[in-house]
Symmetry: C2
Subunit: 209 residues, 2 copies
């Protein structure tokens, strides 16, 4: 297997943490997003959607999209399970991971990509250029705040995002929170549950990647 | 099990088709989105995110988010499998379903919700109000066109979205195409592969819901 990565980007980091938590060893190829290597012909031949992460299997199949890659790795390397155990828990993990993607990661992504000077004309990932839309900066910040309020409330009821087990939903939330902090949007002081959860999760050895 | 539905909305239709394809019988409760029943206290107690579909299990667990609900149903009612068989096919189905959600359904959603008069102040689903952003109308249309070009190319290589088997990825694409057509954005005449696929899939009895 080959893993196409970029050390500075949030999406591949979600898979890197997943890989570290499972202790999987694989060949890693760094793609230089800062210099737009993902838009060049060589990488387009690997992933026409011009995104990392990509997982290339030994039979040549190339998987893109974080959740699909993690699902494959969870099937191929079952221990420790990171996507839930049993029908209901598995569905709850997928549900929470989806909420974190749509309400958290998408919000901070909108904020960052529509604000940063280096993202001019690149407001969305992918092969096609889209101009920045300034209104999405404020909307992204507002959505992220509403999302954090929601997670603060939810984490009053459970240790991890889904019950008492660490899963991909925690990985996605950790990456969202770190990406937001890097963009100077931090957890409010009064969000004691989210802070308690962040300390618990961010200290794991798997999170140091 | 109870299924909270809305006959006019695209997201619950994805689950309705999934249920029909599996021949599952369950109690269905219609939520009147046109009159904003999803924002009222009664439905908020069921789903604080104010979205349909919701699947309520017999133990009281409530699942939201289309893919999570379908994953549960595919585990609980395995025949016919609609989310792939085997590690690699399962990952490919998840991957394509994600692409269709992010590049197709999100694009037409942006187009519609930022254009329709009835969606003023409701540019995003959920409990919080967000104003329409006119730039997202054009961007949504452009993204949808790029997405259709991509699917036209892909469907030159396979009968269904993933190989020769009907899956949730076909359901998601069908609902995206029908939602776009309802918004007057139709498949271009020259897209012969996408048209061939559409005829194949839209005639299934499960799609008549």
């Amino acid at each position: 297997m080959k893993f196409y990565d970029c050390k500075t980007a949030p999406s591949p980091r979600r898979v890197r943490i997943f890989i570290a938590e499972k202790n999987i060893e694989l060949e890693t190829i760094e793609i230089d997003l800062a210099n737009r290597e993902q838009l060049g012909a060589a990488f387009k031949a690997i992933n026409p959607d011009c995104t990392v992460p990509v997982l290339e299997l030994d039979d040549g199949t190339r998987l893109t999209e974080v959740f699909a890659i993690c699902q494959y790795l969870d099937d191929a390397f079952p221990e420790p399970p990171l996507m839930g155990t049993g029908d209901v828990e598995r569905a709850l993990v997928t549900m929470w991971n989806t909420k974190i993607e749509h309400q958290g990661l998408a919000a901070i992504g909108d904020y960052f990509r529509n604000l940063a000077k280096g993202m001019k004309g690149r407001a969305l990932t992918g092969p096609d250029d889209y101009e920045q839309i300034p209104e999405l900066v404020d909307r992204g910040r507002r959505r992220l705040k509403n999302f954090m309020v929601k997670m603060e409330r939810h984490l009053n009821e459970c240790e991890y995002v889904v019950g008492d087990v660490f899963t991909i939903a925690d990985i996605s939330l950790l990456v969202a929170i770190d990406f937001a902090a890097w963009s100077k949007l931090t957890i409010a002081d009064e969000m004691v549950n989210l802070r308690r959860w962040y300390e618990l999760v961010s200290l794991r050895s798997g999170a140091q990647v």
